[in-house]
């Protein structure tokens, strides 16, 4: 009896799923997001950002005669079966026009599922994984595109920026030593490895190069004790988990050394400032594909304001990113006209050149990643200064000047 | 007036009936002994009296109040104190600590210090081992501690289950003396294998067999040794 009832439900689901055999006037847009679990804050932003875009498009009367409806697929903690199931659910919907995500799995394995079914898939984070999957045969992935440029910039740009600051007399480097700590995940480790290479090539001495297990870190004192024995001019932490980074900052401040402190990604998370308060003043970080909120890119302020009006808080990266992803899809649909022609829409996206909150988006046909350049999506260096994020590099977008951290004076 | 009145008690564990229709009264100022073969329901009867088990039929009245099915702590509070058979103490507690804690109920706490002195006077061995952990005590000392802690509860009726279990003759002797002394101030209900001890300590004895009271012995019909052996081991001993 139980079994029969189950099959009943299953078949009912199947029938609902296959109900619309002809394309309706409504195009569904899927969002793969961690709505439940540890990363739910990111997930919420992803859903909000795309909902904002969908509402705006619908209010404007739709695109090419179609209006939009948002469908959310929860990937939970990002486990493979959760991501695959959520992706399958969205993929199984015949009205699905495109699927958006900030990140879903960390490994981006779902890209293959999307490509197999020619689903339009726009993704924001983990560009090195995306690159790894797509670059061996980019033609197999005509519908998958990443708004984040290659992470190569993270590896290399830091050295010239720091040396430039020293040359301009804005930063006094006591030596040419660097200490680097990374967390054991491809993002953090990959960037740390790249930095080690770049620093070594520029003639720096890498005195500490440590690796941490990935996850929550309760105490940095052991590592910091090692650093304090021989203080380097630059101290780099590429662990991107913001709570870890905040603890790092507060424990560094207990007994600061004469070092420039650089932390990967974490300081860009909205609550980082709230959590560290004045302690983070002086910390440097950079961003690729983050919101380029500067007077020369008014679009960023515009999107941020819209988001804030709708949801009452300032978003991080994923709200604006998903908003722009939906907009890029909408523009491509406008051009192609037929939402069921996924491959054509994919190609249209690949050819697009759009000014977004993150900068000008253009895609590299070899990797399907957005192109990094000062005219495209730039790498942005920020310094936290008394609770404000000061964009000091590249100079064309700069909103302020770098100032030497208080503990180095 | 009777201090304990057990009427038509029956019950057991799950589907196994251990007790069938037991009726007993303990008059004020009287000490009662129970004996009989193992596994015939004496311990079960005591457990029902002290609230550790719920009888499936019958009523128990203590001091005129119905205590059938009441919780053990309520029953102790009212003054009926039960000392279990065997090694049932708190292994990690010290001797003095156990005795002090045993005066737990409000009624017992009043006058606890005086009673503690009395217990030490009754069992000087316990006084010598105040600081010792219970698990390091010998069998006899544990038995003394059990009885001692029951006395700390300020009993108005003390129910003892096999107080001499596994003790050497010398210790038995000592314990018997102590029990006689206790019985001067507190009425006792004792389950014991040692019939001679029962005869020495209690005024009236009943034989429990197959969950029933099959015989009662009073001062007027004291049995001789052969009779006891017969009662105990069955007819052809």
């Amino acid at each position: 009896m139980k079994r029969r009832a189950l099959f009943g439900t299953a078949i009912a689901i199947a029938m609902v799923a296959s109900a619309g055999l002809t394309m309706a006037e409504v195009v569904k847009i899927g969002v793969l997001a961690p709505v439940s679990g540890k990363a739910a804050a990111d997930g919420e932003e992803m859903v909000n950002g795309s909902q904002l875009a969908v509402d705006e498009l619908n209010a404007a009367g739709g695109v090419a005669g179609y209006s939009f409806e948002l469908v959310v697929g929860d990937v939970g903690e990002g486990s493979a079966d959760a991501v695959a199931t959520a992706a399958e659910r969205l993929l199984g919907d015949r009205d699905m026009g495109a699927i958006m995500t900030g990140y879903a799995s960390g490994s981006n394995f779902e890209i293959e599922m999307m490509a197999e079914q020619d689903m339009v898939y726009l993704i924001s984070a983990n560009s090195s994984q995306t690159e790894g999957i797509i670059s061996p045969s980019p033609d197999d992935f005509p519908t998958v595109w990443s708004l984040t440029p290659s992470y190569a910039g993270y590896n290399t740009e830091i050295v010239p920026v720091i040396e430039g600051l020293a040359e301009d007399g804005k930063l006094d480097l006591p030596n040419r030593k660097v200490a680097i700590i990374a967390s054991d995940n491809p993002y953090s480790k990959g960037i740390a490895d790249g930095m080690v290479e770049s620093f070594a090539a520029a003639g720096w001495e890498v005195i500490v190069n440590d690796l941490l297990p990935f996850g929550e870190i309760n105490d940095w004192r052991g590592f910091l004790a090692k650093v304090r024995q021989d203080p380097p001019a630059v101290l780099i932490n590429t662990d991107y988990v913001s709570s870890n980074a905040a603890l790092f900052v507060s424990q560094f401040n207990e007994d600061p050394t004469d070092s420039l402190v650089f932390i990967q990604y974490a300081p860009s998370v909205p609550e980082f400032l709230e959590l560290t308060k004045e302690q983070s003043s002086g910390i440097v970080y950079n961003l690729l594909g983050g919101v380029l909120n500067t007077p020369t890119n008014p679009r960023a302020r515009e999107v941020l304001d819209k988001y804030k009006d709708a949801y009452g808080n300032e978003p991080g990266t994923y709200g604006p990113a998903l908003y722009e992803q939906v907009m890029i899809y909408a523009a491509a649909l406008e051009k192609v006209g037929d939402p069921s022609d996924h491959v054509a829409i994919g190609r249209a996206i690949g050819e697009s050149n759009t000014q977004t909150a993150m900068g000008a988006v253009q895609f590299d046909p070899d990797t399907h990643l957005a192109v990094q350049s000062n005219d495209g999506i730039p790498i942005q260096f920020y310094q936290i200064n008394e609770g404000n994020r000061v964009l000091f590099y590249p100079p064309v977008y700069a909103t302020g000047e770098f100032s030497e951290p208080a503990w180095m004076k | 007036m009777s201090i304990l009145r057990i009427e038509g008690i029956g019950g057991g564990y799950g589907s196994v009936t251990v007790l069938r229709d037991i009726t007993l009264t303990l008059e004020t100022g009287e000490n009662l002994g129970l004996f009989g073969p193992n596994g015939h329901g004496k311990t079960t009867l005591l457990r029902m009296t002290s609230g550790l088990m719920r009888p499936s039929s019958g009523t128990i009245q203590f001091d005129g109040r119905d205590i059938t099915g009441a919780s053990p702590s309520k029953i102790v509070t009212s003054g009926l104190v039960h000392t279990q058979q065997g090694n049932t103490l708190f292994g990690d507690m010290g001797v003095a600590e156990t005795l002090e804690m045993a005066a737990f109920t409000k009624r017992a706490r009043a006058g606890a210090t005086a009673r503690l002195e009395k217990v030490y006077a009754l069992f000087p061995r316990l006084a010598e081992r105040r600081k010792q952990k219970t698990r390091t005590l010998s069998g006899g000392e544990r038995q003394m501690l059990s009885i001692g802690s029951a006395l700390m509860c300020a009993p108005r009726l003390l129910v003892l289950d096999e107080p001499t279990l596994g003790l050497s003759p010398r210790l038995k002797e000592e314990l018997t003396e102590a029990l006689i002394e206790i019985s001067n101030s507190v009425p006792l209900m004792v389950v014991e294998q040692d019939v001679e001890l029962l005869l020495a300590v209690t005024d009236r004895q009943v034989l429990v067999e197959h969950g029933e009271i099959v015989r009662e012995i009073t001062a007027t019909n004291t049995p001789d040794h052969a009779e006891i052996v017969a009662m105990y081991f069955g007819a052809q001993a």
């Binding site: - | 193992n38 065997g86 019939v195 001993a237």
Partner: protein, 242 residues
């Protein structure tokens, strides 16, 4: 040569000495009774001999001339030293027949078919009919369960059978039936050690009686004499009775 021999066996739990320097032998074919008041260490002695829990504190136990002092219980059972338990021992989720067959398979190494046949033979001998054999053991009567436990021991074809209070909880007619059954088993060549509180049964069966008190052997010899021994009466009934 005794089939089972205990030499100075002692078992301690913390500060308590449950079995105290016990030495005796059991001859082949004998029916040895073991008595003693509550808490005198009879069951613990059985446990120590059969490896529950593992190992005596000191001393030596020989079975068939081989030391079994440090052997785990299932090996001892397979050697031919079987025992029953005082408490209701059964497997609530198995039937009577399964219970016996399992002992035949694991305790004697029979295959499934032979074990099923052996189980049927034992069930018949134990007086558990076909209809009851397929029932869960929890559905059986107290007497049937006692018989089942003995049958599951016998199916292993033990040399020595150790019975721990088989008569407790039985009615008089049932005890009589048990008595006859045990005589038959013993006559069939199985050495029996019997712990029993029902003294009438013990006295009618035992050829020799050992009385334990406080874990040590108090008296040993002809049952009728031992039972009149002053020390035994004192241990059982108290000092001033003698």
């Amino acid at each position: 040569m005794p089939v089972l021999e205990l030499r100075h066996v002692t078992k301690r739990f913390g500060g308590l000495t449950a079995v105290d320097d016990v030495t005796f032998g059991v001859e082949e074919g004998e029916l040895l009774g073991i008595a003693g008041p509550n808490g005198s260490g009879k069951s613990t002695l059985f446990n120590v001999v059969t490896g529950i829990p593992f190992g005596a504190s000191s001393g030596e136990i020989l079975f068939d001339g081989k030391p079994i002092t440090r052997m785990v219980s299932h090996r001892i059972a397979r050697l031919g030293l079987a025992r029953t338990f005082q408490k209701d021992a059964e497997y609530p989720d198995l039937t009577a027949k399964e219970t016996i067959a399992l002992a035949a398979i694991y305790g004697r190494g029979l295959n499934r078919r032979a074990a099923a046949e052996a189980a049927e033979t034992q069930l018949e001998a134990a007086g558990i009919g076909c209809a009851r054999a397929g029932m869960l053991t929890t559905a059986l009567s107290v007497y049937e369960r006692k018989q089942l436990m003995i049958a599951s021991a016998l199916v292993m074809q033990p040399k020595v059978l150790m019975l721990d209070e088989p008569a407790s909880g039985l009615t008089r007619p049932e005890i009589a039936a048990l008595n006859a059954h045990l005589v038959k088993i013993n006559k069939g060549g199985v050495t029996i050690l019997l712990i029993e509180h029902v003294l009438s049964l013990l006295l009618s069966l035992a050829e020799r009686l050992i009385v334990l008190n406080q874990g040590a052997v108090l008296a040993e010899g002809d049952p009728q004499e031992v039972i009149r021994d002053e020390r035994v009466i004192e241990a059982y009934l108290g000092g001033r009775s003698a």
